[in-house]
Symmetry: C2
Subunit: 157 residues, 2 copies
DNA sequence: AGAAGAAAGTTGACGCGTCAACGAAAAAGG
DNA sequence: CCTTTTTCGTTGACGCGTCAACTTTCTTCT
């Protein structure tokens, strides 16, 4: 079997498959971030990301986090629940909309965020510094274009 | 809280965080591939990837798959187990190494692979066509460089 | 005002991806 | 040789990510 194949993927084909490369690179970066965060702050990657959103936007509703990040609302819900149980965020009932609520740091949560921030910044810088400025620009443009391509790809297939 | 912050991430910062963009793009592409594969062939993404490896390399040992792809050996083990239970691959005991074995398509497995292949090829092409040839080249170079950067990053942090 | 529809959040199920622990077998090296 | 180390595959545990079902509340439309 398998050896009577009609020239489809060559032996070096894998590294040239865009989604394969994308997937491997992201998986590595992801695992690394998770290790760093667990080691330095004892939090998961999702928790860190919620922290970043709160720090960026201030007091915010879960639905708004979903809009800004495209994270799954189920994941956001569970992550906030965990952060709240650990006293890292406080939850303020929204007066205007009784379905929703607003999330914000507690002092302990913010302190934890500040503890992890320096290393995460250095990390981000190392990634950027690995590329020439022009490459970085092309990379982000490519991200945008691929994102657009994804929008209507399933119809075209 | 959160509003007495000292200029760290601006409101538009998220899309400029490389690992954030990488993560979102990959997550979308991943989910799309999974949907397509489930719909057209009833298989998962991991199963498809094992198929691609077998088709590329022929009869192969799990450890070799791990070497070629950097997939986790636990995941590879479970995926092969599932493929075997469903009659999609056969397992040939290795004579030289009694710890290992060789995986290959069954006819049904290969048929299933061939059923999914066209759409997955079109998909790969749509991704490539979304970028200019130069951008594609830069993108793959960026993947290589970021991969290298990851190799020793944890020491530098 | 009342009914229909949409949006917010929660929860359960499942696949992906990593890590660690383990037993069996092979390789290395004294 | 025979001990030590390494490799191969399996398994369990856990977090990420998606999807779907469901409840509550809000909005829209007539």
């Amino acid at each position: 079997m398998a050896n009577d194949r009609h020239t489809s993927y060559s032996a070096e084909a894998l590294p040239k498959l865009m989604t394969f490369r994308l997937s491997r690179l992201q998986a590595r970066a992801n695992a690394q971030a998770a290790r760093i965060l667990m080691k330095h702050a004892g939090i998961s990657l999702s928790e860190w990301r919620i922290f970043v959103i709160i720090e960026t936007n201030g007091k915010i509703a879960p639905a708004e986090i979903v809009r800004l990040t495209q994270f799954d609302k189920g994941l956001v819900s569970r992550t906030i629940k965990k952060l709240h149980e650990n006293g890292m965020v406080r939850i303020e009932n929204s007066e205007s909309d009784h379905r929703s609520h607003l999330i914000d740091f507690t002092p302990q949560g913010f302190a934890l965020f500040e503890r992890a921030r320096p290393i995460m910044r250095r990390r981000q810088k190392l990634f950027r510094d690995a590329l020439e400025p022009e490459e970085l620009e092309v990379l982000f443009r490519a991200f945008d274009k691929l994102d657009l391509a994804l929008d209507d790809m399933e119809d075209k297939l």
